[in-house]
């Protein structure tokens, strides 16, 4: 089966997801990577047509990622409408 062709936005989300998981692995706390995964899973239900919202979340997650990549950071929390 041919792999599904992803849109540019989807690829951006996936790349942030990948980098974030990698950053979470560096941390001592194993619950961070679990949290990252569940957060992305939870928001995967957002329909692709709501690109404004996806772009906003992408922007937010990039900020979070920068935080996570700093060596001083020990834990990260996500704030969203459903939390």
């Amino acid at each position: 089966m041919k792999p599904r062709r992803l849109s540019g936005l989807q690829m951006q989300v996936l790349s942030v997801y990948r980098i974030m998981l990698r950053a979470a692995k560096e941390k001592q706390d194993a619950s961070i990577s679990r949290m990252v995964r569940s957060e992305f899973r939870k928001n995967s239900s957002i329909p692709v047509t709501q690109h404004h919202r996806i772009e906003w979340m992408l922007n937010q997650s990039r900020g979070k990622l920068e935080l996570m990549q700093s060596p001083n950071c020990t834990n990260v929390t996500f704030f969203g409408p459903d939390n």
Binding site: Q50, H52, R53, E55, W56, G63, P81
Partner: protein, 318 residues
């Protein structure tokens, strides 16, 4: 280009001297104002003062990504009031009486902090210096307010300025006493633990002495940074530049380049070569195609395009 630093050091005063205040790009807003005043003086005797609508419609961009699926335009009607002439006052009236959830940034309410930059009637402006009365009339009784174009939105009219500020940080916006070479030598002469003392370099020691007196500047040199230091970094110019819209990640944008020029042309700064080397890049500087939107919308009537062209000529001179 920019290879022999000694030769460059000799030419620096000559280069700075060539950057005299040249022919200024004319700001169009002044001429328009002049025309308006002339028209007013012609017609005011017959028609009386300009007719104002009783109600003004405010079309405000609303988007809270945590709640709304899509951005939308919310319109509010307010009575036109001479007592609150600026748009910021009206935004406060809306926030106080009609829509508590409206989000916008503001701080000084007098056009000096640059927080309330937004896109009003299709032009970037500061809400606190935007006179509503000048832009509405009986036939056009509305004002549309949007966030700065092509910036990631945080909520409603508040945009994420992080990238802009990081770009500003990248040009090192402070006086550099010693350049990179000097600090390299400094490590050798006053070695940190682990570095070896190098006697051969101690003849450079005179460059490392801090100023005993104040770092003085002549009046002529001070005049060079007039029209540059006033920039308040409101990002009106950068976000009105189409070139910045398309190449935001690499092109520095008019506001940051204006600031870069402010440090390049400052006679007290010693890192000219370093700064020009950083700016001499296909994307960082040369994405400016003299579109001149930056001059048109600058709330402080500065001309970033002039500064950019001066940087370009400085780089070609060295």
């Amino acid at each position: 280009m920019l290879t022999n630093s000694k030769a460059l050091a000799r030419t620096i005063p000559a280069i700075r001297a060539t950057i005299q205040p040249q022919v200024r790009f004319q700001s169009t807003s002044e001429t328009v104002l002049g025309l308006g005043q002339r028209l007013k003086s012609i017609f005011s005797s017959e028609d009386g003062p300009k007719k104002m609508p009783e109600l003004v419609q405010y079309r405000i961009f609303k988007y809270d990504p945590q709640v709304d699926n899509e951005p939308y335009i919310q319109s509010w009607y307010l009575e036109y009031s001479k007592n609150s002439p600026m748009l910021l006052d009206d935004l406060f009236r809306i926030k106080n009486t009609k829509d508590e959830g409206l989000a916008f940034r503001r701080s000084c309410r007098e056009g000096i902090c640059g927080s309330c930059a937004m896109n009003v009637n299709g032009k970037n402006a500061l809400a606190c210096t935007y006179k509503v009365g000048d832009h509405i009339s009986d036939v056009k009784p509305y004002i549309s307010v949007y966030p700065l174009p092509h910036m990631p939105i945080v909520k409603d009219l508040a945009v994420d300025m992080k990238h802009f500020y990081m770009q500003y940080k990248s040009i090192d916006p402070y006086l550099k006493e010693v350049n990179v070479l000097d600090s390299f030598i400094k490590d050798r002469i006053n070695p940190k633990p682990g570095f070896k003392h190098d006697r051969r370099l101690s003849k450079f020691h005179f460059t490392l002495k801090p100023h005993k007196k104040e770092n003085l500047q002549s009046k002529k040199n001070r005049a060079l940074i007039d029209g540059l230091y006033e920039c308040i970094l409101c990002a009106c110019c950068s976000t009105s530049c189409p070139s910045y819209w398309w190449n935001r990640d690499k092109y520095l944008g008019p506001a940051v380049l204006l600031q870069a020029y402010r440090w390049v042309v400052d006679s007290r700064d010693r890192a000219l070569k370093e700064r020009l080397d950083y700016l001499n890049d296909v994307y960082r500087l040369y994405r400016c195609h003299t579109i001149l939107n930056c001059i048109k919308c600058c709330p402080k009537s500065l001309s970033p395009a002039e500064a950019i062209s001066n940087i370009k000529s400085m780089i070609s001179l060295t």
